[in-house]
Amino acid sequence: MSEAILVADNLSAGYGSLVIQRDLNFSIKKGEVFVIMGGSGSGKSTVLRHLIGLHAPLAGRVLFQGEDFWAQDANSRANLQQHFGVLYQNVALWGGMTLRENICLPASTWRPELSKADLYELAAIKLAWVGLAGCDELYPAEISGGMRKRAALARALALDPQVLFFDEPSAGLDPLSSMALDELILQLRDSLGATIVLVTHELPSIYAVADTCLFLDNKTHTQIALGPLADLLEHGPETVQRFLRRGEAVTHEVTR
């Protein structure tokens, strides 16, 4: 829990002439759960797209294990990207393939030396981790929305990624499933040693899993707080405290 695995250096996020966030500076340490939070429209998902290499940032650098991600050509970038696992907001499972094929496709493409038996076993293990044991042969259209989300997580785990990105993972999940997902996130971190980057505005999740938090403000268009959750609760700017306290109040009401 020391070295930085992913660093944003003076990053400006946005599309074309639209700058959503500027001057972002943060480093994500190996093995931590890093939460990117902020209100709707604060550019959380856009920042994520820059971090995972889907969309070039307007300015600044993204360093993955010390290498400037966006200075590479597309091939070497893809090589770095195989260490990422991403759970997309809209699930994005490939509809024409069974769950097993969804997991085996990236695994067999990047690790051609795996035997078929190993591939199938890996797919079964990853599905079992997310609680979908025995669903290998089902198509995404045949399972419920919550199951699809978990299946997408299984696919994100296909290559045993070093960094796992979650874009609003609990959107559309019931509180219990969302709690189970939070637990799973922590277990994967502890057992696999993966680094977790979580984009969310779900306060219960933030309270449950966050090590370090980054708060993106949609008025000043930059980061206004970065640090451990406890610090932000104590000394964070007022906006951040209000954002977080609101959640505290809610959780208190629930537990009472």
Partner: protein
């Protein structure tokens, strides 16, 4: 740091001991478990697995799980030793029982039953399309009485796309068709010194037949496919469900504007295509086959009757209805995922083109029988 993973029986000890060493990661080429297991020969009641790996990831889990399965098959107990931190927990997580009932196998039918089922599905499809046509006619009726819930802006959008938007491609294809007709005809007619009749062939061929048909084929690919894809992805995104729950009649709302746009734009495009096709023939006829421009125009004008022109227009109306109805029908009956949208579009274009040619043949046949 990347030591080759290896999986060996340790024969130096009395009990059967399987040693797992090296780094068991996904990138490494690994010994095949089945082969190693077979090497072990007849196994005692208990097999000890000594895990001493340098690095591991889920490929180690895959190995252990497969091993467990082999052991269960042969009624051997496994004694796992030296598991790295985390592996035991991940194994436990992976051992969760199957939550879902496996997919039910589709029942097998004999060939008689399959023929019957196929016939049934054809019958259902026919009924459904009849119902669809009926509903569209009803909707048109409501439109005429001014009760239809249709947004004018939808109509104008559709009209813009299938009218002015299609002009350039229709112009290009129609003039080339006129040109081709002239060339093909000229080669034959020249043998009899009857080049002048190029004018007859091109002008009648274009107005009665090719103008309407070629425009329709272009519109099938351009607009029919677009309708199927648009409505199909609306279906996939639950947009159509949203319309239904708000009580909108989907047919009036979605099909009517598209159908009307086609009904209005197709005859106009066809007239345009006729003119350009005749012009294409004129360029070839008067340019390459020494017919004077005056002669060519005169010949065309004396040959062309209003009937030819009207038959072409009538066909274009029929084609417009076919393109609009079939495109929208496949769009609306689309499934709820990306593949289904693709399939709907393919089906729509194929059925439209078949329908166009068949109806064209029928109309031509009727006209010949009636002598017009």
């Amino acid at each position: 740091m990347n030591k080759v993973p290896s999986l060996d029986w340790d024969h130096s000890r009395e009990a059967s001991v399987l040693q797992v060493t090296g780094s068991w990661t996904l990138e490494q080429r690994k010994p095949e478990l089945n082969d190693v297991w077979r090497e072990g020969g007849r196994l005692p009641q208990q097999v000890m697995v000594q895990v001493a790996v340098e690095a591991w990831d889920s490929s180690l889990l895959a190995l252990l799980r497969r091993m467990q399965r082999l052991a269960t098959q042969q009624q051997v107990t496994l004694d796992l030793q030296g598991l790295p931190d985390g592996v035991a927990r991940l194994l436990e997580m992976a051992a969760s029982p199957s939550t879902q009932a496996a997919k039910a196998e589709p029942p097998e039918y004999g060939w008689i039953a399959r023929v019957g089922l196929r016939a049934q599905s054809v019958a259902t499809a026919l009924t459904e399309s009849c119902i669809f046509i009926g509903q569209v006619i009803q909707a048109l009726g409501r439109l005429l009485t001014g009760k239809a819930r249709m947004r004018a802006s939808d109509f104008w959008m559709a009209f813009q796309q299938c009218g002015p938007g299609a002009l350039p491609i229709v112009a290009l294809i129609a003039s080339l068709i006129g040109l081709i007709l002239a060339f093909v005809g000229a080669a034959q007619l020249q043998a009899f010194g009857a080049q002048l009749y190029i004018a007859n062939m091109v002008s009648i061929g274009m107005t009665r037949e090719m103008g309407a048909l070629m425009t329709a084929v272009i519109m099938a690919g351009r607009t029919g496919a677009a309708y199927a894809a648009e409505l199909g992805s609306m279906q996939a995104n639950e947009e159509i469900d949203a319309l239904k729950t708000f009580g909108f009649p989907t047919l009036e709302f979605l099909v009517l504007p598209r159908l009307l746009a086609l009904l209005i734009s197709m005859p106009i495009l066809t007239v345009f295509a006729d003119a350009l096709g005749v012009f294409g023939g004129f360029v070839i006829g008067s340019g390459l086959f020494d017919i004077s421009a005056q002669q060519y125009i005169n010949q065309s004008l004396t040959m062309l009757t209003l009937t030819d022109f009207l038959i072409g227009l009538f066909k274009s109306l029929v084609f417009a209805v076919l393109i609009g109805l079939i495109g929208c029908y496949y769009g609306l009956s689309c499934g709820r995922n990306a593949q289904a949208v693709g399939q709907a579009t393919t089906k729509a274009v194929v059925s439209i083109i078949v329908a166009l040619v068949v109806s064209d043949a029928v109309i031509t046949l009727i006209c010949t029988q009636l002598g017009i």
